[in-house]
């Protein structure tokens, strides 16, 4: 393996055009946020039954994916896999960028975003949400230091320690994110410890899918060589993560199906929940899990960059659907306040909560993705995040052996 040379990507007109295009989405999201705050949340699809809507789907997805995007760096620094080392910097940058995008949505969807300073100065330490605020900010700081250790030659000796800290921090962070739902006793779909580890494994899959897409995109666009060796490692890993997510989803539902009091919510999500049932089976399971698994492991599509990219995109779409089912489906199922009774009231007790995403909510959610992409592109433009080549002979530690094997 040769010395890796990291270089900024080229600027110029195409770069600024791309940035302008992404910037348009950021501006539209700001406009949406202003519209929602000015009029009040009644102009959104949210109501007193579904209090967390589409913005939360995007925000939680991005926050979960952020910690997962750091995995590639962790594999390099913590588990000492040298093949991943050239990708570690991009991994750290994406982690910060995705988190920033998710948090931007979360803050702009608050009833009082102007009170952000209150959220950062008043803490109720029994609240997992308060802990998450600290974990988010801390994650950015820890990963920033980790990047510094990686990028400053004099500091390289601390890379492993910083990488290990960031790895532990990200595990705690995603445990916290999953526990936002896991700790809720009120609703049948939540109130379970499995959500914390499930969110961690979801983060592995979502983060890596985004990482692969960004890597493919930037290397193609900047005309830098990207070898099959590293890409195939990543796509095989993505396949493993998709399988692991499926395992957790299966365990979650099997447990609920065994427990009689949860039969109602399972019937709702798996059979007659309308849009939630469709999203679960068609988008999350079929398009978002089984199809990408087949694409990634099929002898021909598994070797095609186009198909690997499509499989990664499907994982992202499936992940958003999964978040939609967990967050909005979980709220739509009526609360079991009076078991054994049919409940009727003026406050939508006993009936499925109604929710239709509104345009401003969707635009705000997409704005979060735009923030993450803009931060990533600006990052790779101004700092040396990306190796000038990821060709097999440059980065694959086993390349000479393989080469010899092939020619023998």
């Amino acid at each position: 393996m040769k010395d890796i040379v990291f270089k900024e990507i080229d600027g110029g007109k195409p770069f600024y055009l791309l940035l302008g295009f992404i910037g348009f989405f950021v501006l539209a999201a700001l406009g949406s946020a202003w519209y929602m705050e000015h009029n009040g949340h009644w102009v959104t699809g949210m109501n007193n039954q579904i209090v967390w809507g589409t913005p939360h789907v995007f925000a939680v997805f991005l926050i979960v994916a952020a910690s997962g995007a750091l995995n590639v760096a962790s594999i390099s620094s913590v588990f000492q896999k040298t093949a991943y080392k050239p990708l570690a910097r991009l991994s750290g940058l994406l982690a910060i960028a995705l988190l920033a995008g998710g948090l931007a949505i979360l803050v702009l969807d608050l009833g009082r975003p102007d009170r952000l300073i209150v959220a950062m100065t008043y803490y109720n330490f029994k609240s997992i949400f308060a802990w998450n605020i600290i974990l988010y900010i801390g994650f950015m700081a820890v990963v920033a230091i980790y990047l510094w250790m990686m990028m400053e030659r004099k500091m390289n000796k601390f890379t492993r320690v910083a990488g290990f800290s960031a790895f532990i921090w990200r595990l705690i962070l995603t445990t916290g994110t999953g526990s936002i739902f896991g700790f809720l006793v009120a609703r049948q779909a939540y109130d379970t410890a499995i959500l914390a580890p499930m969110f961690i494994i979801m983060s592995f899959a979502f983060g890596l899918a985004i990482f692969i897409l960004v890597l493919l995109g930037i290397y193609k666009w900047s005309d830098r060589p990207l070898g099959d060796s590293i890409l195939f490692r990543l796509k095989n890993l993505l396949g493993v993560f998709i399988g692991a997510v499926l395992y957790f989803v299966l365990t979650y539902h099997l447990t609920n199906l065994y427990i009689t009091e949860n039969h109602g919510v399972e019937q709702f999500i798996l059979m007659d929940g309308g849009v939630y049932t469709k999203l679960f089976w068609i988008v999350q399971i079929l398009l978002g899990s089984l199809l990408p698994l087949a694409l990634l492991y099929h002898p021909s599509t598994g070797k095609s960059r186009g198909w690997i990219g499509i499989a990664s995109l499907l994982v992202i779409i499936g992940g958003l659907a999964q978040m939609y089912v967990i967050i909005i489906g979980g709220q739509a199922y009526p609360m079991e306040m009076f078991p054994g009774k049919e409940v009727v009231s003026s406050f939508a007790d006993g009936i499925t909560g109604s929710y239709t995403p509104s345009l401003p909510e969707i635009i705000l959610g997409m704005g979060g993705i735009a923030v993450a992409l803009a931060a990533t592109f600006v990052g790779v433009r101004v700092l040396r995040f990306l190796p000038s080549t990821l060709a097999d002979d440059a980065v694959d530690p086993h390349y000479p052996a393989r080469e010899a094997e092939a020619s023998a």
């Binding site: 009040g40 949340h41 009644w42 209150v118 008043y122 049919e342 409940v343």
Partner: protein, 248 residues
């Protein structure tokens, strides 16, 4: 809440006779003024010696009656915008039909003022809080409108203010973008006056709601709770609610 003060209110209300709702409102401040003298001094902190609670007898709760809801809406000026999905409801009438037997009951649902409120646990800023006397409130000044308390409340007791409000009651501040719920009419209770819903129910002679200090063994609510079986909604959560129900 002493029985005497209740009688005092009834007498005054009775004397106002067939006065219109507007006239009734005009009388209310007068009632309050005379009661202030008997309330605890304003500078005295609330104490945990008192645990305010409510007992609702569903057998006495009339199916067609909505007076407690109307009284609450008037007291706190909760008049909505004709958008039921987003309008605030601090108290609501719920009708229950037993799936097995078909038996029908009706009861008011409101903030249950739990001893261990999940809304207070999850609130990131501490805006959701419980007073020493058991009343669960939202500090509208530090609520950031994250709505996590609404996710956490097992009773769906909270509402998010979805739009700009006008003509608010000075004793019951509300704000767009914050979360709110039943205050147990804390502004009245602190002045030794019964909550608006309780008074409305008594005025109709339904007497389905008893309000008082659950820590005082001699209070009417304690006596009734001792004599009759009652239950908490979602007792399995062990939240020790301040609102109890008979007949469910």
């Amino acid at each position: 809440m002493s029985e005497e003060s209740n009688i005092d209110i009834y007498r005054r209300r009775f004397m106002s006779g067939t006065a219109t709702a507007a006239a009734g409102l005009a009388v209310a401040p007068g009632v309050m003024l005379t009661e202030v003298a008997r309330a605890k001094p304003a500078d005295q902190a609330v104490s945990s010696d008192i645990r305010w609670g409510m007992l609702i007898d569903t057998n006495k709760c009339n199916e067609g009656c909505n007076d407690c809801v109307t009284a609450c809406n008037e007291e706190h000026n909760l008049e909505g915008f004709g958008r039921p999905a987003t309008d605030a409801q601090w108290i609501r009438k719920v009708t229950l039909k037993d799936k097995q037997t078909g038996n029908i009951q009706t009861l008011p649902m409101l903030c249950q003022h739990c001893e261990h409120p999940p809304c207070v646990d999850v609130c990131p800023t501490g805006a959701s809080f419980k007073r020493e006397d058991g009343i669960v409130l939202v500090d509208k000044h530090i609520c950031i409108g994250c709505r996590y308390c609404m996710m956490a409340c097992p009773y769906k007791a909270r509402s998010f203010v979805h739009e700009k409000l006008q003509d608010q009651m000075p004793y019951s501040p509300r704000g767009k973008g914050t979360v709110e719920s039943c205050t147990f009419c804390v502004h009245r209770v602190d002045e030794d006056i019964l909550p608006a819903c309780v008074v409305a129910c008594k005025e109709e002679n339904h007497n389905a709601i008893t309000f008082g200090d659950m820590n005082d063994p001699d209070s009417e609510i304690s006596q009734q709770l001792k004599q009759h079986s009652s239950r908490q909604v979602r007792a399995d959560l062990e939240l020790n609610t301040g609102v109890r129900y008979r007949g469910i």
